[in-house]
């Protein structure tokens, strides 16, 4: 792997790290398998790109993107809690709807940001080469996000989020409306996915309605790789592990893409297959371990 590919993987790892934090929140904390992110990641990209091309400050556009993502997550949460639709199905419904909505927002399937100001311009002034500056910027975003989430999950409200995912009966008996907690939690997760999408769009200079395909599987792969390799004993550790898992995952992909076995080599279109196999392996391995111990 070249240094250039290495920095590229770091950049991808960190920029998707925010999404991975969101996936961690739903899958691990709330125990809510949420596929909405496949739609809310491009939603964030679309909102941010449209805002920037209309002259909005790039940082402000991130906040708008997060707001849109939060609303999308809320819709999934409401469908699940108030209308008793199975969580997976609720999230798929929102995700499918977002495809149309994203095209409506952009007015077309994709939107370029070439020449427009982005958040990356704020670091390019530091004199660092862009392939170092952008991973650093995204790592900064991740550090802030982890710090805020660790703080939040240790507040009174945050504890109810943990408890809702763990034991809904118990936390209801403690007087908490779990519906509201789920709606808020899924909203928060999708706000992070949208932020991730907005930054990706600003980084690659375009938003595309199809950029969210497979997001959830990649996010899940990162979460699982993270906790397998880096552990998950505390909340803080689990979240840092999720970010590092995201980086590891992108590095593994970069390695796979650089691999040549005779005349065979992987192409980017093989990524979904590789990711699926990775996730299956990670999910099955604990069971296999148990079997072999017996």
């Amino acid at each position: 792997m070249t240094w250039y590919a290495f920095y590229g993987a770091l950049e991808q790892g960190f920029v998707y790290g925010l999404l991975v934090l969101g996936v961690y929140l739903t899958f691990r904390v709330l125990d809510f398998p949420d596929l909405t992110v496949d739609g809310s990641l491009p939603l964030g990209a679309a909102v941010s790109s449209v805002a920037i091309t209309s002259g909005v400050n790039p940082y402000l556009s991130l906040i708008l993107a997060m707001g849109a993502g939060f609303l999308a997550g809320m819709v999934t949460g409401i469908l699940n809690t108030k209308f008793r639709i199975l969580h997976l199905l609720a999230s798929i419904l929102t995700m499918i709807a977002l495809y149309s909505i994203n095209i409506r927002i952009m007015g077309r399937p994709n939107l370029t940001l070439l020449g427009a100001d982005t958040v990356l311009d704020s670091v390019s002034g530091l004199g660092l080469p862009p392939f170092i500056a952008s991973p650093m910027l995204f790592a900064g975003f991740c550090i802030v996000a982890v710090a805020v989430l660790v703080w939040f999950l240790h507040t009174e409200m945050g504890l109810t989020l943990l408890a809702t995912g763990d034991n809904a009966q118990m936390i209801t008996a403690q007087g908490v409306n779990t519906h509201n907690v789920i709606i808020f939690g899924v909203g928060l997760s999708n706000a992070l996915a949208a932020l991730s999408g907005a930054l990706i769009a600003q980084n690659q200079g375009a938003a595309d309605v199809n950029m969210g395909v497979g997001t959830i599987v990649a996010g899940l792969a990162s979460v699982i790789v993270g906790e397998t390799v880096f552990g998950s004993r505390t909340i803080a550790r689990a979240m840092i592990a999720a970010i590092l898992g995201s980086v590891t995952y992108r590095l593994a992909i970069a390695l796979a893409l650089g691999l040549k076995l005779g005349s065979f080599s992987f192409t980017p279109s093989d990524l979904n297959l590789i990711t699926s196999i990775l996730v299956i392996a990670a999910l099955v391995s604990p069971q296999l371990k148990r079997k072999f111990r017996k």
Binding site: H154, T160, A163
Partner: protein, 264 residues
């Protein structure tokens, strides 16, 4: 304190599996009552407790706590009045949260939760003090997750959590049934101590007639969703297991007799 008035509840109404779970059940609980609830399987013991806690809305009738009509209140809202311990020791605590986090969650039962620290430094000494009363050594394990505790330890912790913020009514749903006999006795003793010292209004469902007779100042027997026996005070103190069984079988015999008549 608690007034259950003519509450009826069908499960699976209108299907072949229709069950009349509560059949015009009425019960008046006075402040400070410690009521033991017995009855055969399917008599409606747990259903009665779930009904008070808000697990479902009755088809008819009303429930009032402290003169507040809570018949249509959702479960989480009623928690402001009610402390609960479940039969399953895993249900009352959060496995992935630490002991102190669990206690902090219980400390705000029925109150709004904000963005202040979940576990407050000023509460820790008090948590330790409370845990020390259990005599299980949990006071030195505040940071351990509840999932590391045994069933008995978790049930003891749940007992504390249900009562540390004084509930108007304590609901115990066969809370020792899933424990081994020794642990069950420890939890029962703990229950006795807590209920007596705090003078808590309590409903305790049990399968064990000795328990039902030895604990509390009042005993009710349920059958087919109705209260068929309600004894208190002197009468309950003089009651023996034999008396109870006699009444129980007398009633069952009668029920069987009427079934026979029906079936011809």
């Amino acid at each position: 304190m608690l007034e259950i008035d003519n509450v009826t509840k069908y499960f699976n109404r209108g299907t072949v599996n229709e069950v009349l779970a509560l059949n015009g059940l009425s019960l008046s609980v006075r402040e400070g009552d410690f009521i033991t609830v017995i009855g055969s399987n399917g008599a409606g013991k747990s259903t009665t407790l779930t009904c008070i806690a808000g697990g479902f809305t009755p088809d008819s009738g009303s429930i009032r706590i402290k003169d507040e009509n809570i018949t249509n209140w959702p479960e989480f809202r009623r928690a402001a009045f009610i402390g609960r311990v479940f039969q399953d020791p895993l249900k009352g605590t959060c496995a992935s949260a630490s002991i102190e986090q669990n206690m902090a969650l219980a400390l705000r039962r029925g109150k709004p939760r904000g963005l202040s620290k979940g576990v407050k430094d000023k509460d820790r000494p008090w948590f330790r003090e409370q845990l020390a009363t259990l005599g299980l050594g949990l006071e030195n394990r505040l940071k351990d997750t509840a999932g590391l505790l045994s069933g008995g330890q978790r049930q003891a912790l749940t007992m504390l959590m249900a009562t540390m913020e004084r509930p108007d009514i304590l609901l115990l749903d066969e809370h020792t049934a899933a424990l081994d006999p020794k642990t069950a006795n420890q939890i029962l003793e703990l229950t006795h101590t807590i209920v007596e010292t705090q003078k808590l209004t309590t409903l305790m469902v049990t399968h064990n007639m000795h328990q039902a007779l030895n604990f509390g100042n009042r005993l009710i027997m349920l059958d087919r969703g109705e209260v068929i026996l309600d004894v208190g005070g002197e009468e309950k103190r003089n009651l023996t297991v034999e008396d109870l069984l006699q009444r129980f079988y007398a009633l069952r015999g009668e029920a069987m007799g009427s079934d026979k008549l029906l079936l011809g």
